[in-house]
């Protein structure tokens, strides 16, 4: 196999979004009949790189060679014609159509529209690789794993022999994962090349032949899986600790503020998102939450804020005098009145917390509109607050009457965090508060959080940059698969340890 031309070669691929470089000078090869794992932390550019191969993005620099020939992939159709198919994390299927209809969708076929022939071919593919789907079943009747199967069959139907799977196991149960891996091995035996994006180390070690590691958009190194172990992979994935010099004042007189016991949460599909979570958040302390995205961070914060339906467990708010108040079952407004504020910055910054078409002052009012006199809301105070936030956080805006959606992402975040902090919270929940911010703005936010900490606020900080978590937080709770992988002291823990715990429950060595 070594003498063959790789089926897919990437040479010096660079992809930028505005000022942000998602991939920089990445080169890698994929051979026929191998399973290549693409490993990296959140935001390391794995998905972007694969989207460039699948024709969704077009890279600014670099070249892509398929079977030794340089190609230009401008659309998903181009990718299909080259035999490249990608199974996205969010399935691209149409609910009201059947599996077969989804599979033949958009195919340019001169022959008559013939679902029967298509069904026969689908059945053939299914038998060949061990899939189990009914071509006539509607997508909305299918489980997540069945939908994924349809996506894979769709790609194979179009004759793809290079398959890219973006975190295929994120939505699967362990049994379904085993089944998927079995199918992937069948496809590999059939000479197909497979790229699997993941950050689960045990899966990498289980299924792949080779591992390529990306960090911060760059190619770091690659391993032959047989020669790698979890430790080596983690080291390469997280890199060495960087010194950032973020202040970390000693907590003053920490007292318990939030006690979470045995918290279990399921999402709307009935999938377990949080399992038996217990921890305590203390006043005057920043509790960092580390974990690969989608491991329950969002659900955890929303549970505390009263926005999640809770399966079992308790969340207690501890008053100054030591008495406890149960938060589970309270409506979000009552929780907010206790001083628990949530400044959640989800993937789309405007999605939660701010209204894009409203101006800064009006967005401030979203918190205070109940404070008016009688029928009328108080319009003056929010605008004053907006002025204050703009000044203190150096928000770059023409005026407080500018619609929030016109501001850049960083400024939007400052407005959101500024508003939450201004309500003098007793518990401050933040997620990805510095995502997409430049260094300077990030430090302003860190500073703000430290100020809140000194005020005696219990701060819970969900972050993605381990270096920051290690320097900012007093304690770090590591989530893995919706479970507490461990709670560490932020002052004497190293990055590798956190990295291991993020990818493997408890961070134990791989002994499989």
């Amino acid at each position: 196999m070594e003498n063959q031309v790789p089926v897919l070669q990437l040479k010096h691929i660079t992809k930028r979004f505005g000022n942000i470089t998602a991939n920089e000078d990445v080169s890698m090869d994929v051979h026929q009949g191998e399973i290549l794992a693409l490993l990296g932390e959140n935001g390391s550019g794995k998905t972007t790189l694969m989207n460039a191969i699948a024709g969704i993005y077009y890279p600014e620099e670099g070249e892509i060679l398929v079977r030794g020939k340089e190609v230009s992939i401008n659309s998903p159709r181009d990718a299909f014609e080259l035999g490249i198919g990608m199974i996205h994390q969010h399935f691209k299927l149409i609910d009201v159509l059947t599996a077969a209809e989804n599979i033949v969708l958009g195919l340019k076929d001169k022959r008559r529209f013939d679902l029967k022939a298509a069904n026969a071919k689908i059945t053939e593919i299914c038998e060949k690789y061990g899939f189990d789907i009914d071509p006539n079943q509607k997508i909305y009747d299918m489980s997540v794993s069945q939908k994924q199967t349809v996506e894979i069959v769709k790609v194979l139907f179009r004759g793809a022999d290079i398959l890219i799977l973006d975190e295929p196991t994120a939505v699967l149960t362990p049994q379904e994962t085993d089944k998927l891996f079995h199918i992937l091995r069948n496809m590999k035996a059939d000479g197909k090349s497979i790229i699997i994006i993941t950050h689960k180390l045990n899966e990498v070690l289980d299924i792949s032949d080779r591992v390529v590691i990306l960090r911060k958009g760059k190619y770091i190194c690659e391993f032959v899986t047989a020669e790698a172990d979890a430790q080596k992979l983690t080291d390469a994935m997280v890199g060495h600790a960087v010194t950032l010099n973020i202040d970390r004042p000693e907590p003053v007189d920490p007292k318990d503020r939030i006690r979470v016991k045995g918290l279990t949460v399921k999402n709307s599909d009935g999938v377990l998102k949080l399992k038996d979570i217990s921890f305590t958040a203390r006043t005057g302390e920043i509790l960092g939450i580390a974990g690969i995205s989608g491991n329950g961070q969002k659900e955890l914060l929303e549970s505390i804020a009263g926005l999640q339906k809770i399966e079992s467990g308790s969340i207690a708010y501890v008053n100054e005098d030591g008495t406890e108040k149960e938060l589970v079952g309270l409506d979000p407004k009552k929780i907010t009145d206790l001083g628990v504020t949530l400044s959640f910055v989800p993937e789309d910054r405007l999605g939660m917390g701010l209204v894009g078409n409203m101006n800064l002052g009006e967005n401030m009012m979203l918190r205070t509109f109940r404070h008016g006199h009688g029928l009328f809301t108080d319009r003056k105070a929010p605008y004053q607050l907006a002025e204050q936030v703009v000044k203190e956080l150096e928000v770059n805006t023409p005026s407080v009457r500018t619609a929030v959606r016109k501001l850049s992402g960083g400024n939007v975040q400052k407005v959101l965090v500024g508003r939450e902090i201004s309500s003098a919270p007793t518990v401050l929940l933040t997620a990805y508060a510095v995502r997409g911010l430049d260094i300077n703005s990030s430090y302003i936010i860190y500073d703000l959080m430290n100020k809140q900490k000194e005020r005696g606020v219990a701060v819970i900080y969900v972050g993605e940059d381990l270096d920051v978590l290690l320097e900012l937080c007093d304690r770090i709770l590591v989530l893995c698969d919706g479970q507490v992988s461990g709670i560490l002291d932020g002052r004497d823990v190293d990055k590798q340890q956190v990295g291991m715990m993020m990818t493997r429950l408890g961070g134990g060595e791989a002994n499989e």
């Binding site: 659309s75 149409i94 009201v96 159509l97 969708l105």
Partner: protein, 331 residues
């Protein structure tokens, strides 16, 4: 009773045909995810354009020298061209410029009605008639020509064969639309565009092209409804605002038939029947009661909406992205 049905059914059918055109056109449009509330206006424009075409032809050649073929072809082409332009304007605004579909549609309706009344008024002035209407009776004769042997077939002929070619065109359109939408690859692609344009795009379907084509074809089919109304139903008499709220009834029909064009055949006849039911009811001369009866189709539509929403069957829901503009960079 039989006598009643014999006179009621043909009238219900001819009342239902404009609705059928409108509903089929609108269904095709909505299947691409475009909620074209401009249908009412488009039907007006289709009607008045046909009137303008035939007016010019009638006055130029004189009533005696009219060629039957041209008398039909000219108004028809004018009607199709007018509706096509309306469809193109709607597409340009909502698909290319991504304007809000509801606002655009309502504006198109207001515009279409105004356009019809303006040119209707102008033609009435030109024709210097004593009554506020234009009568194109010669053209109408060509349009409403019926099968010659229909009369000789008794009740069967009266119920099934006593209509003009446009009526059968409407039924053919409904059947063709149904076959194309549900049984061809073209229809599959169209439905996927209306359901989930991002997925369709990823599958290599040209979303913009499908939206443009579906909406323009839909607009042309709807426009024929306006033409049928003037030339056949109203015997070639155009008077302003006479078309009334039939465009809205057509939109209601789309919901009533749960986006299945074939069903609009019986449903539009039912609506047409409900619309004129008051004439056959003894108290029908009372105008206040008339309004109540004319309300019936809308009430029926609301009931259907309640039932389909309650049953929540996925196939009976509107296209998932109906009313939303698609923007590739959004993903």
């Amino acid at each position: 009773m039989f006598e009643f049905l014999l006179s009621f059914i043909p009238r219900a059918v001819s009342q239902g045909i404009p609705l059928m055109f409108g509903a089929v056109g609108e269904t095709v449009t909505e299947k691409s995810g475009n909620l074209n509330l401009g249908t009412a206006g488009i039907m007006y424009v289709g009607g008045i354009c046909g009137v303008i075409g035939s007016f010019l032809y009638e006055t130029r050649t004189g009533v005696e020298n009219m060629n039957g073929f041209l008398a039909i072809l000219i108004p028809m082409l004018c009607c199709l061209a007018g509706s096509l332009i309306m469809g193109l304007i709607y597409c340009f605004l909502t698909v290319t410029l991504r304007a809000n579909q509801n606002v655009t549609g309502l504006a198109m309706t207001t515009f279409g009605v105004g356009f019809g009344n303006f040119f209707g008024g102008s033609l009435i002035k030109l024709s210097a008639a004593d009554v506020p209407s234009i009568a194109l009776s010669r053209t109408s004769q060509f349009f409403s020509a019926k099968l010659p042997f229909a009369k000789s077939l008794g009740w069967f002929g009266q119920i099934f064969l006593s209509y003009s070619f446009l009526a059968y065109t409407a039924i053919a359109m409904a059947i063709i639309a149904s076959v194309v939408i549900f049984h061809t690859k073209l229809g599959l692609n169209l439905r996927s565009v209306g359901e989930n344009p991002a997925t369709a795009d990823a599958a290599g379907i040209n979303v913009t092209r499908y939206k443009y084509f579906a909406t323009c074809i839909g607009a042309m089919v709807s426009g024929l409804g306006g033409l049928y109304y003037v030339m056949d139903y109203a015997s070639g008499v155009w008077s302003n605002d006479a078309f009334g709220d039939r465009g809205w009834l057509a939109i209601a029909l789309v919901i009533f038939t749960i986006w299945r064009p074939a069903h609009s055949i019986w449903a539009s006849i039912l609506f047409g029947g409900l619309y004129i039911l008051h004439i056959f009811i003894p108290s029908g001369t009372n105008l206040a009661i008339k309004e109540l009866y004319q309300m019936a189709p809308y009430v029926v539509t609301i009931i259907v909406l309640i039932f389909t929403s309650l049953r929540n069957k996925r196939e009976n829901q509107p296209p998932a992205s109906l009313g939303l503009s698609y923007f590739r960079e959004d993903r």
